[in-house]
Symmetry: D2
Subunit: 313 residues, 4 copies
Amino acid sequence: MPGVPPARYAYLGPEGTFTEAALRSLPAAARAELLPCPSVPAALDVVRQGEADGAMVPLENSVEGSVPATLDELAAGDPLIVTREVLLRVGFALLAKAGTDLEKVCRVGTHPHAHAQCRTWLATHLPDVEIIPTSSTAGAAAAVAEPGSHLDAAIAAPIAADHYRLVELVGDIEDNPHAVTRFVLVGRPAPPPTATGADKTSLVAYITDDHPGALLEVLTEFSVRGINLTRIESRPTGDQLGRYCFSIDCEGHIDDARVGEALMGLRRVCADVRYLGSYPRADQVRPVLRRGVSEVEYRDAAAWLARIRDGRL
Amino acid sequence: MPGVPPARYAYLGPEGTFTEAALRSLPAAARAELLPCPSVPAALDVVRQGEADGAMVPLENSVEGSVPATLDELAAGDPLIVTREVLLRVGFALLAKAGTDLEKVCRVGTHPHAHAQCRTWLATHLPDVEIIPTSSTAGAAAAVAEPGSHLDAAIAAPIAADHYRLVELVGDIEDNPHAVTRFVLVGRPAPPPTATGADKTSLVAYITDDHPGALLEVLTEFSVRGINLTRIESRPTGDQLGRYCFSIDCEGHIDDARVGEALMGLRRVCADVRYLGSYPRADQVRPVLRRGVSEVEYRDAAAWLARIRDGRL
Amino acid sequence: MPGVPPARYAYLGPEGTFTEAALRSLPAAARAELLPCPSVPAALDVVRQGEADGAMVPLENSVEGSVPATLDELAAGDPLIVTREVLLRVGFALLAKAGTDLEKVCRVGTHPHAHAQCRTWLATHLPDVEIIPTSSTAGAAAAVAEPGSHLDAAIAAPIAADHYRLVELVGDIEDNPHAVTRFVLVGRPAPPPTATGADKTSLVAYITDDHPGALLEVLTEFSVRGINLTRIESRPTGDQLGRYCFSIDCEGHIDDARVGEALMGLRRVCADVRYLGSYPRADQVRPVLRRGVSEVEYRDAAAWLARIRDGRL
Amino acid sequence: MPGVPPARYAYLGPEGTFTEAALRSLPAAARAELLPCPSVPAALDVVRQGEADGAMVPLENSVEGSVPATLDELAAGDPLIVTREVLLRVGFALLAKAGTDLEKVCRVGTHPHAHAQCRTWLATHLPDVEIIPTSSTAGAAAAVAEPGSHLDAAIAAPIAADHYRLVELVGDIEDNPHAVTRFVLVGRPAPPPTATGADKTSLVAYITDDHPGALLEVLTEFSVRGINLTRIESRPTGDQLGRYCFSIDCEGHIDDARVGEALMGLRRVCADVRYLGSYPRADQVRPVLRRGVSEVEYRDAAAWLARIRDGRL
């Protein structure tokens, strides 16, 4: 289409990371310009400044837990919203220059999270190597590829081998072969994608104080409307220890009546609520709704209330 | 005003009951036609059939509890709504024909509720009299007034003395001088009186089953919106023991956002909800609202939800 | 057994009431002395004074609801406990002297509750009769039996016919053929009957004030331990309108760990708790326990706590 | 005392970390042997193997949040318990070899958490430096101190200057001057320190499934007994995304009746509960108890239950 510039997506780089793989799994990325960024904040700022249409960043991992930088960056600064999620199985490989002898590997570079996920394999097969932390797994691969590198090998995503012209000494070295990382595509504020019936909504809730029931109040706003949470993380607000906000993903879409009512409830009882978007679930699981919370039941109840307010009993 | 027929109000008769006194306490009753009825169902049916504009009936007493006939009649049949409540201190007198000697009183007629409320006085002052149950206190007074009555005296409202030309042998014989009865004025379906800020809403909730949390669910719909209950009565549904509905009065008006949302919640989780009206509190007590449930906070939250649904963050 | 005096049971009389039938359904009543009493308080006082081993009184009816006199008498005065419950189907008959012509029946005596339960039959078959309230159905039968009675017939239990030498003009005149009344056998304080696994526990809970969550707190003490309520009645405390206590029956036995813990919880959060006994359910229904509340799970948790308090992890 | 070997404490090293400072704040550390360990798991394993009496490790930071390695290591493997907590203000300095010119600093080593906490200062004062991640702040200082180091400076604790013979180029470079880190002293299973009235209890709760109310159930076990939570973190269990356990600190001591009862409740409703110790609060804040949860009220309720189970009403 002449005249329409291609879309542009930022992502947590460098090239060859799992995040790039997650971004490339989206059809929209096929003809888009992809922009690797050195950090999550950098990737999000590119979007905030209008220099990219979206940014793909990691949110949580089934082994390591959430990615604090992503949670905290989404909770602060100019508003952004999540429009897609991608789930990616995370497998690691030991990469080195062609010709490297596994027996002679002494110094291995990798990101601390990757290190944590391959700890058992390393203890068994390479108990004596020194692990050098790097700021990304791809960064370790890049460093190995440099002439005269102080690193003998890198633990990284298999796709990093191509990017940095390395070979896989050993594959599938992750301790948990079912490890999955969840990535989110983040954009500037806009109406959410249309509800599919299998959606999630993300938000951050700041409680007003910490009386015994403060978190209970927050959860009750969801449970009274039959809404399941799929993730809840307390995060320090930075003021003092013991002051938290809660990063929450719940089932359902902001346009669902039950979700809208729950969010209004949070808005009223919380010190602040930051909405982070509604988007289709990557696993396409539809919620099992209990009695009384479906769209039809909400519409019926609203019509009934209108009638009795009018005296039409 | 020529051409405008006077209002017509039914009440639980006969003449000379506390219910008549409650009805006469309303300014609207001053120039209206008052129609005594033999029973609560009869009084309500007169309204249902359009032969009266309203009916005054007793709902509960601070000593004896609720009046089952009123609760059950409002819960069944064609819909009616409460539009006013009246609180009346209930004092009893021992009435007899002029010239009656207290020493010679052997048979005393009264309604069982009045009997219950004067039990201590009777045990102390007239331990040996026979109490004859009558269908109303005024009925006892009327029976005493008949020539050749089998009753020597009646326990009744002081105003029954005038009606039936009796004298007060002893006044203030009630055991609890603070006893109060609550009456309600009931009319045909119509929009409720305007909210005053000190209102009540009455309803009947039928739970779907009796799992451990069924009543808890009902109460949670109120408590999550900060709504206090001022009365809750379980009533058997008549099907079998252990099947109940709940007759409930709550603070607030059907036009209040929090009350409307709570009633919609009940409508969705209950097998059935019967709305019985919103009306000004006789004691004019305004609710103390907790954070997050005022009209202003509801409006703010609704506007916020509209904005985020539109993508205007 | 020589030297052992026969048991003595009081009941709400007079002879020929449903209460007598309930009492006679107990094997223990077969050789006992049965003592009819003029009122529920009188029957209970006989037990309190040690002049009877127990008293059978009605507690609730599936159509009419609870019997306030019984609830209130058990809640006040010297402590008594329920040791048995009896469920009895309640059928009414129209009784009269032999030779009475149904066409000529003008005045019918009965207790107001019986009246309420036969209202439809009366409206259909005897629309013009005058109903005279009596203090019991048996009392109406007795009055009919008197020579020169002002009553032509009585609505009463079928067994009253024998007692008062009347005949059944019409049988099964109750509007609801499934109506059941629940009676309880009440005794002086003693350890409860052994738990059967299908038990009930009765109590009265006085809440400290009426903030939005007061009743919710009471119910939560039960629900958090998976205990179902089979009856809950609010009763005015007599102080003022809007001050209630709650008469409660729950599933389980005071010796069950979950029930004991719930009652301790009530004792701590309520202004007062009055225990009214644990006893086998007449319907022998065993509760369906949710995860975490069985005796075995309670014992395991207590042993675990003892271990970790001792540092044996 | 001759013959008594000095205590031995492990800590997250190397020397010169905040963790060492936290450990040295304890009187017991004054004459003890202190053993720096390369990682949290290593420090804990030294204790598990009996080679140290305790280990000091960081648990959470008011800016960065919890330390996943500590949470996860305490939740897995042989049981350990927390016996003390230490709060330490966290201030950072830029350290370099004597004579280093701030203008010429190009490569700065530090731990990613420290980097995160000095981001604003770095962006303002050293926007162009390259940040090299190291496995600890002290490790960065050590690397700077090496002859021919590839690092020009380190961001580290001020006390690292002494250890590694560096000088402070700039002090107090942390973005948030109120940042506090919480450390815990961990030992082998033993009875907890005596309750002080200002205590905390730590545990991990594994929920059985993720129905809408699973976390609500966990929180209710605390709230129904008036116990405030001071920290709650969801952690992935590693099985799959959306499966969590909850790392929890609550007010109170395992020997408190309310805490014991709550923990037994968790033990029954959760798939598993791991107790991690009761210990005095570093801030000595005593909980404000609501009605019904004090030791005295628990004792009174237990005595009352014993009486009514015995029939002594």
